[in-house]
Symmetry: C2
Subunit: 347 residues, 2 copies
DNA sequence: TTGAAAGCGCTACCAG
DNA sequence: CTGGTAGCGCTTTCAA
């Protein structure tokens, strides 16, 4: 009766550890460690042999063990308000590509509110030992959080806001907004609504007021009064904006144009106009910010910012900072893209 | 001359370790470990004291150390072809919410090609010790990869495809596609183009052929011949589709309708129609799949699938599988949404 | 209910 | 250039 050795190849049976590799290659674990990580002081022949054995045994260093022993995690945490959003997903995509290419793992967290934000900050602080650094996208930090992060030695790059002490990638939001409003003014609009975002202290608390500044500035430059009754606020989604702007549009004293702080909001405004039977741009001009993938199709005039680029730049800055690079602030340019959603009033 | 003790609070100086907590609380590290993790066999009073000290010292267990000692990583890896895409970002969002709520970390990887796929599989296999499980979204596995994953004991849930051996969340793609084409047929269309996706073996290699089946099936059911000259292929983006369909639309023998495998492709078809001066739906009807956020605004008729739900369900299945749950297959329903991009030919 | 101690798998220092 | 070995910070028997 033949004894059938069950289980597959006995050589590759369990997960190979560094010791197994050392044994088979006939060297010490120390040498294996050096050889595999490409450190100097390993004879070429030795390294080759070790690498061959490691490959054969399908050896992979246990990340937890490496991290524990070496101190570095080769992981970076990325926090965004909502990863399912057009804007944030583009940025995450840009970051991911850079990090993956550099061999870093990317830990993704959604940060929908202040509680999540402080948890993120706490867990990803150096003391948390979860990552080597983190990237925060449009998540506003309180002054005390900034101070704490700095004194903790938190490596952090910020997208959207500029904090001294951390590298950042931002756009010139005052200019972006005033560019849009200037355009509407130059078309002859005098009653220009603002579709803004909430300015609570939880997230996005910096971008909206700045874009609003641009809106005000453009009015001032044109010698126009702003009508506070034309200001609306909604989350940065099409649906929220659609609902929020309805009362102001469904009104004889409605604006002749609306500047929306994001294209997705602008889409919502266009939808509301459709709902009310208003023609765009005949009855209502609409301008947004972003140059969303679908903006061309719907003919939305917008102020473009290179969103994916925002992400890749953030990834690069982070990598540089990890390599001991200096704090760098980058401001990416914006550009007005003219399409069919804006025209002189009453056209 | 007063000696100024430099450095902040001496008590909280360095990062507190479990030993510090034990010392201050007057218990052993073993007890601290139990107390903090909520394990039984700790006196209520003791636990309370330990927790208080831990909070005061801002103690956090080092994840790497815990992982090494306990074996579990509390991390799950998620692989998608391109995280910057509408469809995948929605799914990742759905997954993220579930995982975050359950206290799991989410490692995000883009898997644009076969090389990345095999690297992902290798690193996130149980032997990689990087995560406890993984989720693959629309990343097609070769039969040998499936077999290997199973025999490795890889915990994996699949979104988009159904493999025996792993939990999965899918949609009925044949029905989705045939529903769309049936609709066009019932409007009177006889020449219906197909905007499909590439069927290489790298990614998306299962969904496109299945949707194509639905397209063929609907033709057959209606007794219609399919014209191979009306088949187009492009990546699932608006731009790619716009370019790819141009030659077929810019032709006297053009189709009267196009079924696109995704809404983003449908957007591209609509853009191409615009480019060529074709009216939608008058000269060309267009139907997509997904019900993208912007589909309502552009009036796109589409077959809706609950994309975020796909993600949340995947997250739930994964969590259950981690808790020893069984393999489960879920198929989510689809629904035809009628809008203005489809109408009888020549309307 | 609590504590002592043996690892978890690797890296890094120091000798040789 | 290579090997021995002491940790990294926590979890988990096993005894007490």
């Amino acid at each position: 009766m033949p004894v059938d050795e069950s289980g597959p190849e006995p050589t590759l049976r369990a997960r190979a550890g560094i010791e197994d590799v050392a044994l088979v290659a006939g060297v010490s674990v120390a040498t294996v460690s050096r050889a595999i990580r490409g450190l100097p002081n390993v004879a070429a022949a030795t390294r080759e042999r070790v690498l061959a054995v490691a490959a054969e045994l399908r050896y992979q260093a246990d990340p937890a063990a490496s991290r524990l022993a070496a101190g570095s995690t080769r992981t970076v945490a990325v926090g965004v308000p909502d990863p399912a959003t057009w804007f944030f997903s583009k940025i995450v995509g840009g970051i991911e590509r850079k990090l993956q290419a550099a061999g870093y793992d990317l830990l993704l967290s959604g940060i929908p509110d202040a509680e999540h934000r402080s948890r993120f900050l706490y867990m990803n602080a150096p003391g948390g030992r979860r990552c080597d650094a983190s990237i925060l996208v449009d998540v506003a930090l309180l002054p005390e959080e900034v101070g704490e992060a700095i004194s903790d030695g938190h490596r952090l790059v910020s997208v959207g806001f500029r904090y001294e002490g951390f590298s950042s990638v931002t756009t010139d939001n005052v200019t972006a907004a005033s560019r849009a409003v200037d355009h509407l003014v130059s078309l002859g609009h005098r009653r220009i609504g603002l579709m803004g975002m909430p300015m609570d202290n939880v997230m996005n608390s910096v971008v909206p007021p700045i874009r609003r500044q641009g809106y005000l500035k453009a009015h001032e430059a044109a010698g126009l009064d702003v009508d506070p009754g034309l200001e609306m606020v909604a989350a940065s989604t099409s649906d929220a904006a659609r609902v929020a702007c309805r009362p102001i549009l469904d009104n004889s004293k409605r604006p002749t144009a609306v500047f929306a702080m994001s294209d997705e909001q602008a889409f919502g405004v266009m939808l509301a106009a459709q709902d009310l039977g208003l023609r765009v741009p005949g009855d209502l001009s609409v301008v947004g910010v972003d140059d969303h993938d679908q903006s061309e199709l719907v003919g939305l005039t917008t102020v473009r910012q290179g969103v994916v680029e925002l992400g890749s730049l953030a990834g690069e800055l982070l990598l540089e900072s990890l390599n001991g690079g200096p704090v760098i602030h980058i401001e990416v340019p914006t550009e007005l893209i003219l399409r069919s959603s804006s025209a002189p009033p009453g056209t």
